[in-house]
């Protein structure tokens, strides 16, 4: 069976998205680990709650807004370069807002100090981004070896 390049990209992208969700919900263990280290011992239920609320905000608010902006740019027939730059800006803004949201959630649910919650949030997000970069790059290398082309799965992959 011969696949064309768009089919292969679709398969790789699907694999990457599955990994992304695993990494996202791995945040539960990271939250539990770091809050334990900061002596805010609470059951797993709290970590699950923090991560589920975070996921819902990300999925229904940020992803929706990001899709809306990209959709608008496509509708008005904007330049491809502009669309990709706006996509990158969206991702960076979403990452920063995510960081603030999780810091706030940790502060509220674990009743930690602001600086401690900022540190925990930084640690959780950085480790998730780090694993995502590794997954994206490994997939990209397999993609290069299979097709001879390269593909960007994640905004922070090449920087």
């Amino acid at each position: 069976m011969i696949y064309n390049i768009s089919d292969i990209i679709f398969i790789y992208n699907t694999i990457y998205i599955i990994f992304s969700y695993i990494i996202l919900f791995g945040g539960i263990f990271l939250t539990k680990f770091f809050t334990d280290k900061f002596e805010c011992r609470k059951p797993y239920k709290t970590a699950v709650l923090v991560n589920v609320i975070w996921f819902l905000i990300t999925f229904f608010v940020f992803s929706f807004l990001s899709g809306l902006i990209t959709g608008y740019l496509i509708t008005i027939g904007a330049d491809v370069v502009l669309i990709s730059i706006v996509g990158v800006i969206n991702s960076v803004i979403i990452l920063i807002i995510n960081f603030l949201v999780i810091a706030l959630l940790i502060k509220v649910f674990y009743k930690t100090g602001l600086k401690d919650s900022i540190f925990i949030s930084l640690a959780v997000i950085s480790i998730q981004v780090f694993i995502r970069i590794i997954v994206a790059n490994v997939l990209n290398i397999i993609f290069i070896l299979n097709t001879g082309h390269y593909f960007s799965f994640y905004v922070f992959q090449f920087f």
Binding site: V88, V92, K115, S126, I127, F130, I133, I141, G148, F158
Partner: protein
């Protein structure tokens, strides 16, 4: 090599070094480690020296090698992507060992500090990159040699 680019590179490196030292110091303090700006500065100085050496080796060794092997542009780009990923991994491993040896603390803490520093730096670099591209329509790594891997 353009002397102005090298000068700008060195100035940027010094600024990065100071900011990284302040950031590392803050992270170490949050983990309740005994830390100071001086120690953070030394950690990052050693770390950056290693990275600059690795980067310079690649800059001087890779292009003649690629010409010798008469590779196509696509192949060169792919190899650079793989090298970039390897440098990223080496950067993190180096960072973990340097932080561990300077602070004499457990590996999980050193890994966390290193990953936070590396990822934060990536995000900030991307923001700077987008801003420069957005306002000036130029890719800022062109002509910059030491600055590229950070």
């Amino acid at each position: 090599m353009d002397p102005i680019s090298i000068l700008v590179d060195i100035v940027i490196l010094i600024i990065i070094l100071i900011l990284r030292a302040l950031y590392t110091n803050w992270l170490a303090t949050k983990l309740k480690w005994v830390s100071s700006f001086r120690r953070g500065f030394l950690v990052n100085l050693v770390w950056i020296i290693f990275l600059v050496v690795i980067n310079l080796l690649i800059i001087f060794i890779a292009p003649p090698l690629f010409i010798g092997l008469s590779l196509t542009m696509d192949e060169i780009t792919s190899i650079y992507i793989i090298i970039g990923f390897l440098i990223f991994i080496i950067n993190v491993i180096l960072g973990i060992f340097i932080v561990h040896s300077f602070y004499e603390k457990e590996y999980w803490g050193s890994s966390v500090v290193t990953i936070i520093v590396v990822i934060s730096e990536r995000v900030i670099m991307l923001i700077i990159f987008i801003s420069i591209f957005f306002f000036f329509r130029v890719i800022f790594t062109e002509g910059f040699y030491l600055f590229t891997p950070f």
